[in-house]
């Protein structure tokens, strides 16, 4: 009986549930010193003076460092793609460009002294003009980098076809904001560095990409990568924001090299809200056109991406937005162009979906607006435009090739689970009776790209002399359950119980290379690599068994139920994995193992339909999410328990963006949502239990038939909830409300319509 496809409980759990995980801050590193940072309180200023003498004089302060002390090169431009004149120094030097930018590093004997010493550093600023709104930044009036002469960090200059909408009977346009949010993993950034006896830097990091950390530290500190050993303990969430290396982490490495003791840095949450990369941050303009009977012919999205003060991954994510421009629809003509600008705010980075939620949110809102314009049911409009299952592989107008899908199946299943017709009836009833609490129903049909980067992945399987297995993977799980999932794959191939399979990840000495975990790539890249290594080990084992059993290689079978190899027809004469492992060593001194560097088989395109049901209190604008239905297709599902968990978590973050969460700055660039008390991190009380289903359309792209599932929940959920809120008050004349649809925004939208229609009094 196959273990694949089963709801196997996680092997990781007993530890987490009884003694808790071991995160960087939990590590026992005797003799540790503690690092704290003094950060800019100004959004844009020249640093006039920095007086560190008060901090230096404190008992227990070991060192106080500015950028000049570090002597390190500026950080490189992202993937060589962004404006090279906009790269940051490791610590701020001369100019600070966002509130929270680190200026001074303090190393002290205790965490408490490090915190106390921060207050003794005096920074004097000469304020400069601030630009927060990307629309303003685009005007290039207030420049963050005068030497660049512009605030534009990156641009995708596609489209501009003036005739795109020529044959469209109906054309609808809308401005949208896909607002800046904060990833907020429960564990903030946390690293520790120490020099080991062999002169190497041992670096413990809460990261999604240990090998990336190794390589970035090496190049920043001017040492060879093999002089850096990165160890990743348990990681308390990442969501994309821990997929890159932050300047503070480089400072930890620098201090470790010089101070002869372990250096630890764990930020506070308030620091994290300013210093950990933010997500999203697009101002969009969409235009959609088609026939009056609901065939969409053309679509354009123009993106203005907020990069924050220094362009990083966030600045280039419109590339991914563009890849998914036309969504799951067979729109014949579509364009996406983007400009990424810098603003005096926290740099933006990848955050669950990384460019694709923005694409889906835009086109799904456009579809609803188009449906409204032609007075068509939004589900029907989608039904008429979804790519048919026979049309795959499907090349979109932006040259993305979707692998396989059955988009109509997902739509119909979602409508059925939701009881769509009954919902519309209930909505009608409440509208007719003028109920204070109106019902809104929102749809989102999505397709997204996973494993979109060309990296392959490393996987290795080794059988120990006792017959147990060691698996090494280049992925870097932080909650996804790879230990369970990869051991399922290996157990399936080798007939060894999962309890006897150890999975190692995150240690760059033990795992020589890997791309880490992000972009929903791990199963199809990393799992596939481990799977292949297991397949290869089985083949090698058969060779050994043939020798031992003095039989033909082709007559050897592996009985997976017992994990024993025998000659076909004579099961009593068998050899165990332990026997073969010992035989391998006896033969040539090498263990029974296989290592695979699996080239990426290419991206895959999970898809689905989400339906959201909300209730809007039209007197206060408060929105309550009543139900959320999610039908997702990620190809062959390896472990439905884990896959559902990913969908649930994704939905919560998607709902959060639609209803609640927003990073807010005032016009002087002061952050107003810099603690978890002010930032509306969604809680259990705001959410219902979700109604989730999977359809399975296996992909031909990889051997597992699997697509990624990690970001689908978020991508599908946000537009469904957003559309539902707009739908709830559409009959009052409201056309659009920007996210997050906070009570005040919803109420304000209702008021505006009422005032315009003369049915409400504007109150002063």
């Amino acid at each position: 009986m196959s273990i694949l496809g089963n709801r196997v409980l996680r092997r990781e759990d007993p530890k987490f549930l009884t003694v808790g995980g071991t995160y960087v801050a939990d590590l026992d590193l005797p003799g540790s010193l503690y690092l704290s940072f003094v950060r800019s309180s100004m959004a844009h200023a020249r640093i006039a003076a920095v007086d560190v003498s008060g901090a230096q004089a404190m008992t227990g302060v070991i060192g106080v460092y500015t950028n000049e002390d570090l002597g390190l090169a500026r950080l490189p431009a992202i993937m060589g793609m962004t404006n090279a004149a906009m790269t940051p120094t490791v610590l701020a030097s001369e100019i600070v460009r966002y509130v929270g930018e680190p200026i001074v590093a303090i190393v002290a004997e205790t965490r408490e002294i490090a915190a106390d010493a921060m207050e003794r550093v005096v920074v004097e600023y000469d304020p400069l003009s601030v630009v927060i709104d990307p629309v303003e930044a685009r005007k290039d009036e207030v420049l963050l980098f005068p030497q660049a002469g512009t605030n534009t960090a990156f641009a995708l200059d596609f489209g501009g076809d003036e005739s795109l909408f020529d044959d469209c009977e109906v054309v609808v346009e809308q401005d949208l904001t896909n607002q800046r949010v904060a990833p907020c993993p429960l564990e903030v950034r946390s690293v520790a560095g120490l020099m080991t006896g062999d002169g190497r830097l041992e670096f413990h990091a809460s990261t999604q990409a240990p090998h990336g950390v190794r390589d970035t530290l090496a190049s920043s500190l001017g040492i060879e990568p093999d002089m850096v050993h990165v160890v990743t303990p348990d990681v308390g969430g990442g969501f994309g924001a821990k997929a890159s290396v932050y300047p503070e982490e480089i400072v930890v490495g620098w201090c470790a090299q010089r101070l002869g003791r372990p250096i630890r840095w764990t930020e506070t949450r308030s620091e994290s809200m300013l210093g950990l990369g933010h997500g999203r941050g697009q101002v969009q303009h969409v235009k959609i056109g088609g026939t009056r009977d609901g065939i969409v012919k053309a679509y354009r999205i123009e993106v203005l991406q907020d990069s924050g003060a220094y362009p990083g991954i966030g600045a280039v994510l419109p590339f991914m937005t563009r890849v998914m421009t036309s969504g799951p629809y067979k729109i014949p003509r579509a364009e996406c162009a983007s400009i990424s600008v810098v603003t005096n705010s926290t740099p933006t980075t990848a955050y669950r979906g990384a460019g694709r939620p923005e694409a889906t949110a835009a086109i799904e809102r456009a579809m609803d607006l188009f449906a409204r314009e032609i007075a068509m049911d939004p589900a029907e409009l989608r039904r008429r435009n979804l790519i048919d299952k026979e049309e795959f592989p499907y090349t979109t107008p932006v040259e993305t090739v979707y692998d396989i899908g059955d988009y109509h199946l997902a739509l119909e299943l979602a409508l059925e689970v939701a009881g769509y017709d009954d919902l519309r009836s209930e909505q009608e009833r409440r509208r007719a009776s003028g109920d204070v609490r109106q019902l809104g129903i929102g749809l989102s049909c999505y397709v997204e790209i996973t494993n979109g980067m060309p990296n392959g992945e490393f996987g290795a399987v080794e059988v120990r002399p006792d017959g147990k297995v060691i698996v090494r993977t280049g992925t870097s799980p932080h909650g996804q359950g790879h230990v369970t999932a990869w051991s399922m794959l290996v157990a399936e191939q080798m007939g060894i119980p999962i309890e006897d399979i150890e999975v190692i990840h995150g240690d760059t000495d033990i795992v020589p290379r890997g791309a880490g975990t992000m972009g929903s790539r791990s199963l199809q890249a990393g799992g596939a690599a481990v799977n292949q290594a297991a397949v290869d080990v089985v083949e090698k084992a058969k060779d050994l068994a043939a020798d031992l059993l003095e039989a033909d290689r082709d007559d050897i079978v592996l009985d997976k139920s017992s994990g024993r190899f025998h000659v076909v027809g004579t099961p009593a004469l068998a050899r165990s994995w332990a026997d073969l492992a010992k035989a391998a060593v006896a033969k040539d001194g090498n263990p029974l193992f296989a290592e695979v560097d699996l080239a990426s088989p290419g991206p895959t395109f999970p898809f689905g339909t989400h339906i959201s049901v909300v209730e809007v209190d039209t007197e206060t604008g408060k929105v309550t999410l009543l139900r959320h239905i999610a039908v997702d297709d990620a190809g062959k599902i390896l472990n439905p328990l884990l896959a559902e968990g990913q969908v649930h978590g994704g939905i919560a973050q998607g709902v959060a963006q639609a209803l609640l969460e927003e990073v807010v700055y005032d016009l002087d660039g002061n952050p107003l949502t810099s603690t978890l008390a002010d930032y509306s991190f969604i809680s259990a009380a705001e959410l219902p239990s979700f109604e989730t289903r999977f359809t399975e359309t296996p992909t031909p792209v990889n051997a597992l038939g699997a697509k990624g599932i990690g970001e689908s929940g978020t991508i599908g959920a946000t537009p469904a909830v957003h559309n539902a809120v707009c739908d709830a008050v559409a009959h009052l004349g409201v056309r659009h409300i920007d996210m997050p649809t906070t009570p005040m925004r919803v109420w304000g939208a209702i008021q505006e319509v009422g005032i315009a229609a003369g049915t409400a009094t504007e109150r002063r």
């Binding site: 429960l186 564990e187 969908v647 649930h648 978590g649 809680s683």
Partner: protein, 157 residues
């Protein structure tokens, strides 16, 4: 100042600064790192422990305030036999954790909630967990775990 308390049934004592938060006392002085710090505004609940059987945010209690009292952390929840507490077991069976960072606080909060309300509705559980934030699970399976534990007869033993 000298602080002592009973943690998971064991007497613990240490000389710490008055400003030492209970969560830091537990993690650093007692060495129980299961309880985590997730924020600095008493918002996230990752630090939840039981103080005299009631859930509290250990980041918002001074060690000095807990001196002389009984504290239970995640490490002290399992039965004396080592068998997991029904709430711990439910979390596993329902896949109520992913990265695990919120989990100790979440488990302690659910344990306290069920001690005060033995037959909670789903809504009561959700509102009862408003002080415990999770980013990974979307709460769906956490709520399922709490409901499952609430009907487990072993919870009363």
């Amino acid at each position: 100042m000298q602080i002592d308390m009973t943690v998971n049934g064991t007497f613990e004592s240490d000389d710490v600064e008055a400003r030492t938060l209970l969560v830091h006392f537990l993690r650093d002085a007692v060495g129980l790192t299961g309880t985590n710090v997730g924020c600095d505004t008493s918002s996230c609940g990752a630090c939840t422990v039981l103080l005299n059987g009631q859930s509290v945010k250990s980041c918002t209690v001074l060690a000095a305030q807990a001196s002389g009292e009984q504290v239970t952390t995640i490490e002290g929840l399992a039965r004396p036999t080592g068998e997991m507490h029904p709430v711990q077991r439910s979390f596993r069976e329902c896949h109520g954790l992913q990265c695990g960072y919120c989990t100790p606080g979440m488990v302690m909060a659910v344990t306290s909630l069920l001690a005060e309300n033995s037959e909670p509705t789903e809504e009561e559980i959700r509102i009862g967990l408003e002080g415990n934030l999770c980013r990974c699970t979307g709460y769906h399976n956490i709520v399922a775990a709490a409901l499952a534990a609430s009907v487990n007869p072993e919870l009363r033993t």
